[in-house]
Structure formats: structure tokens, C-alpha cells
């Protein structure tokens, strides 16, 4: 009986809410569509502006000193502003710890930035895209840029071909590891971008040593000092001396240092946290992309449906740890880097098989960008991949 009463109450609640609501949603979206079409018509005759006068909004999910992703983004942002003469004290509006799950907070942040004259707003973590795309319709004069795949027509989207750098990392490990065919990898969550890092590391190791196998251990968390450290220790206890990582904390490098193993850092240059273990680090360098977006916004030439997917210097390794990596190895890695840049070597080139023995890419072919971005496989020399 009581349950019935409750369901009646819930029903009553809904009725009241619907009566009070009016059908304004459809009108709203119609109006939004209208402004959108007007905007695309106007896009070409936007006024040009001096690039150093741009006001830039930066939305981060963590603090910018997080030692990982947000720091890599922020350093790129600072570098880009510096190159273009933008005063970061005055014209760079940074909002940190804006939860991707909190649309109201994201919207408040964007509106606050627009009120403060922002010309571009950068969403620096993947989860802001949907809100940014909606806000663009409200503020058609502001350029919205977002780190993600090509999804929205009204948002500039940018990504980096991180697999190039991770491929070099794997190759470097293979050159250094002359005693064994076994490599390790500490991964965070099982997700396409993480698989990309793992697979390209494994392919790089294989490029340097055809018998290389990569054992992966998962933290199942985006950031977990304990589990990441334990995973590194387990790999080391099983005789693995060289490992790659897709993890944000300094736990892996530090565990390697304590146990005489070596690793390639991730996100930012991790050498300072473990100078005796970090050979080099895979780093995200968004500065060239940011610079281009800023310059074009200033010139009024930006097209808001642009998508960047850049490799080369954007996906580079940090400086080598000269105490650990001999000069001839450094030269070989740099040589491979040039070969990738010139197109002579392609990371996801056929014949490529997954860990189940299925052919992913036929001999003589290369994988499409779409498949690279949505990796749902593990390459053949990865062990410990999730099913």
C-alpha cells in the first residue's frame, strides 16, 4: 500500500512539473539554429585583431601542477602565449579543477570567461566537448577549442598523434634492453587512448627487437600512487627491467629507481622525479597547435570546424637522460623519428596482427586515423591485454 502511495506521489510530482513547464525547448533550439547559420555567414568578415591582445580561457580538470596531463597542457599553453607575446598574467584566464561531470560549473566557467572578454576558450580535457558545443551556439563570436576526436562541427578539435612518440619510446627500450626480450608496461584504465600508448610502445619495441613481448599491468584508475607503484614492482619482480607507462603519477619511475629498473616517463618530463630510472619521457606538446589556433583567431581566418591531428614535434620525447642513454642509441632514436616524419616508417603498418591472431592491417596497407583513434585491439606482442 505504502509503495503505491509513493508511486502516486512521484507521478503527482511529474504532473506538476509538466504543467508549470512550457514548451520553450523547441523554440530555443530553433533560435539557436538560426544564430548558427547567421554565424557561419559572418565568420569570414570578422575583424582582425592583434594576436597579443587576445584573451584566452583555459579550462582544466585538475590543478595545473598535477605532474601529468593538466601540467602538459598548461605548459603548452604558456609556451604558445609566450611565442605570440600574449601576457599570461593578464590575458590567460585559467580555471582549474572544473569537473567534467558538472555541466553547471563548466557553463558558469565559460560564461565568466566570456564576460571577461575571452576570444578563445580551450577545453583541455576530453569531457567538456558537449557543453562547449552548446555554448558556442550561445556565444558565436567566441572560438571554442576542445581536445577530442572530430565530433562537433562548431568546435575546433585538436589531438596529437601520441603513438609516434610512444613508438620511439618502445624502440628506445628495445635498444637499451640487450639482455631480455621481455618488456613491461604500466597502464591506467582500459580505454582507447591508453591502448594507443600501449600498442605503439609494443610496436616500437618490436621494431627494435622482433622477439620483444610487452607485459601490461592495469591500475584501473586514472591516478593511483599505490597501485601504479605495485604494478611496477610486480613487473620488476618478474624479471622485467625496462618498461613504458601510461600513468600520471611519479610512482612508476620512483619504484623503478628503487629497484634498479628503467622506464620511459609519460605526460611531462619525469626525469626530476627519478633521475636514475627515467631514460626520457613521452611528452604532449600542444604549443604549435595552440599557436596556430590563436593566430588564426586573431586574424579572423579561423574555421570553427577545423580538426587538428598532429604528430612530429607535438608528440615528441623529452631530452634524453644523458647519464643513462648512450649517444649512439640517442642517434638511432632520432633517426627513427626523422623516418616517421618523412613517412618512411609508419607505426600502424601491415602486416599487423592482434593478440588473438586476427589480421588488423593487410601487408602493404596502413591503418586509417579512425581506427587508430578508436583502438579496441591489442597488438600481437602484448600480453595481459583485457578481453
Amino acid at each position: 500500500m505504502k509503495k503505491k502511495v509513493i508511486s502516486v506521489l512521484v507521478a503527482a510530482t511529474m504532473v506538476v512539473s509538466l504543467f508549470t513547464a512550457c514548451g520553450s525547448t523547441s523554440k530555443d533550439s530553433a533560435a539557436a539554429d538560426k544564430t548558427k547559420t547567421e554565424d557561419t555567414a559572418e565568420a569570414s568578415d570578422k575583424e582582425a585583431k592583434d594576436v597579443s591582445d587576445l584573451v584566452i580561457g583555459e579550462i582544466e580538470y585538475a590543478v595545473v601542477e598535477d605532474g601529468g596531463w593538466a601540467q602538459a597542457m598548461h605548459e603548452s599553453m604558456l609556451a604558445a602565449c609566450k611565442n605570440l607575446g600574449i601576457d599570461t598574467e593578464k590575458n590567460l584566464l585559467t580555471a582549474e579543477e572544473i569537473a567534467e561531470e558538472d555541466p553547471s560549473l563548466i557553463e558558469s566557467t565559460i560564461e565568466e570567461m566570456v564576460d571577461n572578454g575571452a576570444d578563445i576558450i580551450f577545453g583541455c580535457s576530453t569531457g567538456y566537448g558537449a557543453v562547449l558545443a552548446e555554448m558556442q551556439e550561445e556565444y558565436p563570436d567566441v572560438v571554442f577549442a576542445q581536445y577530442e576526436n572530430d565530433i562537433y562541427e562548431n568546435v575546433v578539435e585538436f589531438q596529437i598523434r601520441g603513438y609516434e612518440g610512444e613508438f620511439l619510446a618502445g624502440y628506445l627500450s628495445a635498444l637499451m634492453n640487450t639482455e631480455s626480450n621481455q618488456f613491461g608496461f604500466c597502464a591506467s584504465m582500459d580505454e582507447a587512448s591508453v591502448r594507443t600508448a600501449l600498442n605503439s610502445y609494443a610496436l616500437g619495441a618490436k621494431y627494435g627487437n622482433p622477439d620483444a613481448t610487452v607485459q601490461v599491468l592495469w591500475a584501473d584508475s586514472w591516478y593511483d600512487l599505490d597501485v601504479e607503484g605495485q604494478n611496477a614492482k610486480t613487473l620488476i619482480d618478474n624479471g622485467i627491467k625496462y618498461m613504458g607507462m601510461e600513468a600520471s603519477s611519479p610512482a612508476v619511475p620512483q619504484t623503478c629507481e628503487q629497484n634498479g629498473a628503467f622506464c620511459i616517463g609519460y605526460n611531462i618530463n619525469m626525469q626530476p622525479s627519478a633521475p636514475k630510472a627515467v631514460l626520457t619521457s613521452f611528452t604532449w606538446n600542444f604549443a604549435p597547435i595552440f599557436e596556430e589556433i590563436m593566430q588564426q583567431t586573431a586574424d579572423g581566418t579561423i574555421k570553427i570546424d577545423t580538426d587538428y591531428y598532429e604528430g612530429g614535434d607535438c608528440a615528441k620525447l623529452a631530452d634524453f637522460n644523458a647519464d643513462l642513454v648512450p649517444a649512439d642509441v640517442q642517434a638511432k632514436v632520432n633517426e627513427l623519428k626523422d623516418k616517421i616524419a618523412s613517412g618512411e616508417v609508419s607505426v600502424y603498418a601491415g602486416e599487423l596482427k592482434d593478440d588473438q591472431g586476427n589480421v588488423l592491417v593487410e601487408e602493404g596497407q596502413v591503418m586509417s586515423d579512425e581506427d587508430i583513434l578508436a583502438q579496441d585491439f591489442f597488438v600481437s606482442n602484448v600480453t595481459g591485454g583485457k578481453k
Binding site: V10, A11, A12, A21, V63, E97, E101, S104, T109, M113
Partner: protein
């Protein structure tokens, strides 16, 4: 002569005193934070003026504040309901997640019913999800006296992991690398309140609070709950079915948290996201406490709290570091809770003559 104080319990707590004390301690908290803001090189008056005027006195700020208050409000109502019976439901976070999961399952796999009937079914599914998750703790608590603080807390992690699995796995929107689903189809969206662009979820929240208030005030269930709260023994002698009341309170509480998920999903975010509850279930505990478990006070406190959370954007864009924005929130909370002492007790000066 020494000056000493003695505390004396106040007999009556008037609403005016509660409001005034809370205001006073909020001001004290702001003053305390002001010192740190000034020390880090900003003018506290300027920061506060901008923060308060933007969030509480602009149309946009109010709109965002109301939207952000929805999950907090519903979760707090649920949590307060169990606190009323001396039960600790720490699991609003997980019940919220489970509610969203059930709602998502309905939206994606259920019959394509749109409009009022569809939204109603979505709400029922969300409520059921949260209620079911709470039931898993309610039955062991009622039958075998298993501590519900622990079971509800632990089930949070399980629910969040299931949510994360779904958002990164089978429910992930095509072509994305983000743990979020496709947009909810338009027919299931909660309509906005006429012209104001505020989600009509706020009406549901207020109505839910009123209903709960009425339950407390004028139903047998409400009366029985308050008896159980003050003395289980007395309740037993009076022939009140304690087990049934425990299960009922926890299940409704879970259902309300699930409904919070529904309002956020259908009213604000329109997508299900990995980590969607975003600590609303835990913040709800603080809000329930600050509101003294009064459903009507919960409406006000959760709206103010949401405003406070949103103010972090304004403060940060001024250049004040995020840590200070978070600190202001924490300090206000702490001071207001401390101020509660002065609502319950009065200090009386005792004059003592040294012999």
C-alpha cells in the same frame, strides 16, 4: 576575579536565531578567508563582491545555481530521511549512480515512449535503481543488524565502478574517447521552466521536499519514524514495526538519491557520464546536517551550496587560485557547523570571587 563561562542548553531553537547564527558564522568564515586572500595578493572585498553579485544576483548565476542544486537537494532529502531514524545512509553517491544506470537502461533499451509518460517512466526507473541499491543494505540492517554505514559506503564504490564500466564500455557514445553516453533523446528531456531556462527539475525537488515535510508532520509513518529515532525500546513497546520502518526509510532514501540522478540526467546534463554523481552524495550529508534534517531548509541550503560551488569559476577567472576557491567553500561549511553549537547552547558568564 576570574571570568568563566558555563554552557546552558537552549530550550527552544527559533528559526530566526538559526538563520542569524548561520549568517553570522558565514560572515566570520568570509572574514577568516579574507586574511588568506589578502595574503595572496588580492583584495578580499573585491573578490567577495564579485563572487556574490555574479552568483546570487544575476539571472545567469541564479539559473546555474538552481540547476546545480538539483542533485544536492534530492540526495540531501534522502539522506536526511534516514538520519531522522538514526540510520546513516552514506550511500547516496552509489544510489545516485544506480538510479542513473537504471534510467539510462530505460532510455536506451526501453520502449520508445516520449513526453510525459516517458519522463515519468524514466523517473520511476531511476527511483527504483536507487531504492534497490539501498535495499541491499536495508535488509541486512533490519534482519541481522548489519551496520548500514559500512554497507552503504562500500556499495558506493561498486555502483561507481559499474557506472564507469558502462560509460567507457557498452554505453560510450560513438567516435568519442570520453566516458559519456549519447545525448538523451529530446522526448525524454525535462522541459525548461517557461522562458527562464531553468530546468523544471527544481519544481520536482521542491514538491518532493514538501511531500516529505508533510510525511513528517502529519502521517503515521512520520510519527513512527520520530519514535524510532528517540527510543527503539519505546517504539517496540508501542507496537511499531521497527524492521519495516528501517527498510522503508532506507529504500525511500535510496530512491530519492536515484531521482537526483534522473533530474541531472534528464534535466541538466542530458548524458550519463563516468563519475556522474561527482560527490553530490557526500555533500548531501553536510547539507542534511546543516539543514537540521528539515526538508524545507534543505531546499534553501542546497541552493546556496550550489551557488557557493559555482562561485569557484568567478573567483578563479579573477586570478585567485582554485585552492582558495575550494578553501572558501570548506571554511564556510566548517564555521556554520561550528556555529550550530551556539544555536543549541548559550554561554552564561559566571562570576567567581576568589577566596
Amino acid at each position: 576575579m576570574k571570568i568563566k563561562f558555563r554552557k546552558e542548553r537552549r530550550e527552544k531553537q527559533t528559526i530566526i536565531r538559526t538563520i542569524l547564527t548561520s549568517l553570522l558564522f558565514t560572515v566570520l568564515a568570509l572574514a577568516a578567508c579574507g586574511i588568506i586572500i589578502a595574503a595572496s595578493g588580492f583584495n578580499p572585498i573585491e573578490v567577495y563582491t564579485k563572487m556574490i553579485s555574479k552568483v546570487f544576483f544575476t539571472g545567469r548565476g541564479i539559473r546555474k545555481m538552481l540547476d546545480a542544486s538539483l542533485p544536492l537537494m534530492l540526495c540531501s532529502l534522502g539522506v536526511a530521511l534516514t538520519f531522522k531514524m538514526n540510520l546513516n545512509n552514506i550511500g547516496a553517491e552509489g544510489q545516485y549512480a544506480m538510479g542513473v544506470i537504471f534510467g539510462g537502461a530505460f532510455a536506451m533499451y526501453g520502449p520508445r515512449i516520449d513526453g510525459f509518460a516517458g519522463i515519468l517512466m524514466l523517473a520511476v526507473c531511476c527511483f527504483a535503481g536507487g531504492a534497490l541499491w539501498a535495499l541491499l543494505c536495508a535488509i541486512p540492517r533490519a534482519l541481522w543488524d548489519v551496520n548500514e554505514s559500512i554497507t552503504t559506503l562500500m556499495l558506493n564504490y561498486i555502483a561507481l565502478i559499474i557506472l564507469s564500466y558502462l560509460c567507457l564500455g557498452p554505453w560510450k557514445a560513438a567516435g568519442q574517447n570520453v566516458g559519456q553516453t549519447e545525448k538523451l533523446r529530446a522526448g525524454l528531456e525535462l522541459p525548461a521552466l517557461g522562458g527562464a531556462k531553468v530546468s523544471s527539475g527544481i519544481v520536482i525537488g521542491v514538491v518532493a521536499a514538501l511531500i516529505i515535510y508533510m510525511i513528517y508532520k502529519s502521517t503515521t509513518l512520520g510519527y513512527q519514524m520520530s519514535v524510532v529515532r528517540y527510543s527503539q525500546g519505546a517504539a517496540r513497546f508501542a507496537g511499531i514495526n521497527i524492521k519495516r520502518n528501517i527498510i522503508l526509510a532506507l529504500v525511500i532514501s535510496g530512491g530519492l538519491a536515484g531521482l537526483a540522478g534522473c533530474l541531472q540526467y534528464a534535466g541538466v546534463s542530458q548524458r550519463i557520464m563516468e563519475g556522474m554523481p561527482n560527490n553530490a552524495g557526500y555533500t548531501a550529508i553536510v547539507i542534511a546536517y546543516l539543514s537540521k534534517l528539515n526538508p524545507l531548509a534543505i531546499i534553501i541550503v542546497s541552493i546556496l551550496f550550489a551557488g557557493l560551488q559555482n562561485s569557484s569559476a568567478t573567483v578563479q577567472v579573477m586570478g585567485v587560485p582554485t585552492q582558495i576557491a575550494t578553501m572558501i567553500q570548506g571554511t564556510i561549511m566548517l564555521f556554520v557547523i561550528a556555529g550550530d553549537y551556539f544555536q543549541r547552547y548559550r554561554l552564561i558568564r559566571v562570576k567567581e570571587v576568589e577566596s
